[in-house]
């Protein structure tokens, strides 16, 4: 059970990759998990229909923030069409830890934000 906080999760949480904001993002999306208040913003810079640069910002538990950090590392070079096909299993494989039903929402928050942004949904009102 100690697996949940495996070293790489803590490492991504303590030293997040690609955390911050872009000067002039092509895609920007922000959402919260109303249950626990975790927040994620994802910004993308595009080169044609490929992702040139992905960054995130947010606050919340180690699982939600580490997942966002890891996800941004995976995105560079991916097409928007490929992003639309990312699923739950992709995130679970990426995290590599056992996630119970309660923490699944934490793990999937960044993917939810990313896909909403890529599909061009309206920003959730602040």
């Amino acid at each position: 059970m100690d697996d949940l906080y495996r070293e790489n999760i803590i490492d991504h949480y303590r030293h997040p990759r690609n955390k911050g904001h872009l000067e002039d993002p092509d895609i920007h999306y922000h959402d919260v998990n109303p249950f626990c208040g975790d927040e994620i913003t994802i910004e993308l810079k595009l080169d044609g229909d490929r992702i040139a640069k992905a960054v995130f910002d947010g606050k919340g538990c180690a699982i939600s923030q580490a997942a966002a950090s890891m996800l941004t590392e995976e995105l560079e070079g991916m097409t928007l069409e490929e992003v639309k096909h990312l699923d739950k299993q992709f995130i679970l494989d990426m995290l590599g830890i056992p996630i119970g039903p309660v923490r699944l929402k934490c793990a999937l928050l960044s993917l939810k934000v990313l896909k909403a942004g890529v599909y061009g949904l309206d920003e959730w009102p602040e």
Binding site: M1, D2, L4, Y5, I10, R14, F35, C36, G37, K59, G60, C61, A62, I63, R103, C106
Partner: protein, 419 residues
């Protein structure tokens, strides 16, 4: 009517080890560790006496109440009404007619806000609540103020997590029609001076509505001595089943109030052009009620009475003082709210910059159940500028050894997060 007998003579002081034998759920292992259940503020566990009372009711007594003339309907009605009497005596209500069955504290508070509020509030009137309320004692008042045009005001809290009594003085004007407050905060653990607050409300002609969700399970309650106008509490936090709550009210107030919900059992007469209401308490109890749950709550009341509310309050003071001391030793851990001397059996804290959900998940790995989040009290967390806290809470079955395990697991969490 005779009162159901308590399960054991209260002359003999119980021990926690004896009490724990009555709670089968506590015997289990969680993730390879004995369960340490430190989340009774969210919901308490149930003793076999409660589980068996409900089981026995369904095996031998169940039918609908107040309807049939057959044997079982009478037996069910007797069990249901005896439970009401037993609950009335537990809080020293003058009459069982003043005990309204609801689903939970939330419904009890909504009943007062909608039924009393719609009949008594209007533009220019003010409703006073406090910053330390649970959402269930905030949102119904927000809604009723929107409907009636009354204004909602909040008593602020001090840095020690207590009500700001000076601010209360200036807020409590003749415009205040109702002052609704918690007897014990579910986040800060603060025990409020209920009698004094009720007296101050009465001094300006306001009624006092007390949220007893956290106090009734843990402290002796006497609605007459405390002169409360309304008291709301839940069965599931006091060893009873879920789906059952109580609203106590002063008789003249309840008599004057319109019904909250319409349906069967709450009417005296229904004609096409209108209806007349049933007498108390049935005016407020529309539809088939939670009968087995009433029987279960009554068994819980017997159990609490058997142990003694004074013993329970003492036990919780002891264990909370111990937990306070041990948690204060943990570097980087910050406890919210007042010191152990004016606090009920719960401690909410923040551990460095580790998110409370992570703290709770790490504790869970060691079989320790705590609550993490905003505990349905966002205004308190806003006051302290933190999104969430971790909360450990204690009841009759908790031990100092469980507190030690909690502290050990927190050191483990610190190590995992390099704190």
């Amino acid at each position: 009517m005779t009162l159901p007998q308590s399960f054991k003579a209260s002359a003999i002081m119980p021990t926690v080890a004896e009490i724990r034998k009555d709670f089968p759920i506590l015997e289990q292992q969680v993730h390879g560790h004995p369960l340490a259940y430190l989340d009774s503020t969210a919901s308490s566990q149930k003793p076999i006496q409660v589980i068996e009372a409900m089981n026995r009711y369904y095996r031998t007594t169940h039918a609908n109440v107040h309807r049939g003339v057959h044997y079982l309907s009478e037996a069910a009605t007797t069990a249901y009404e005896n439970a009401r009497l037993n609950i009335a005596r537990f809080i020293n209500a003058p009459s069982p007619k003043q005990i309204i069955y609801t689903r939970n504290t939330t419904e009890s508070l909504n009943l007062v806000a909608y039924s009393w509020g719609r009949a008594n509030l209007g533009p220019g009137d003010e409703v006073l609540i406090t910053e330390m309320e649970h959402h269930s004692n905030i949102v119904p008042w927000q809604l009723i103020c929107e409907i009636t045009g009354a204004t909602l005001r909040y008593v602020p809290i001090t840095s020690r997590g207590e009500l700001d009594m000076e601010a209360l003085d200036s807020l409590l004007t003749e415009k205040i029609r109702v002052f609704a407050f918690t007897a014990m905060s579910n986040v800060l653990g603060t025990i409020n001076p209920v009698e004094e607050l009720v007296a101050r409300a009465h001094a300006v002609g306001a009624i006092a509505v007390v949220d007893g969700a956290q106090s009734v399970p843990h402290l002796p309650t006497d609605v007459q001595a405390m002169d409360m106008d309304f008291l709301a509490f839940s069965s599931h936090k006091m060893l009873g089943p879920t789906g059952m709550g109580i609203l106590y009210g002063k008789r003249e107030l309840l008599e004057a109030m319109p019904p909250f919900m319409g349906g069967g059992d709450m009417i005296r007469e229904v004609k096409m052009e209108g209806s007349r209401w049933n007498e108390l308490p049935y005016k407020f109890e529309a539809g088939t009620p939670a009968i087995a749950e009433a029987v279960g709550l009554s068994a819980a009341v017997d159990y609490l009475r058997g142990i003694g509310m004074d013993w329970i309050a003492d036990h919780e003071r002891r264990i909370t003082a111990y937990a306070w001391e041990r948690l204060s030793e943990v570097e980087g851990l910050r406890i919210l709210g007042p010191g152990p001397e004016r606090r009920g059996g719960l401690i909410s804290f923040v551990l460095g910059d580790v998110h409370p959900h992570d703290v709770a998940a790490i504790l869970d790995m060691d079989g320790i159940a705590v609550r993490a989040g905003h505990h349905c009290a966002q205004p308190i967390h806003d006051h302290y500028c933190i999104p969430a806290t971790t909360r450990a809470s204690f009841y009759i079955y908790n031990t100092e050894e469980e507190v030690d395990r909690l502290v050990m697991a927190l050191y483990k969490a610190k190590a995992m997060f390099d704190l």
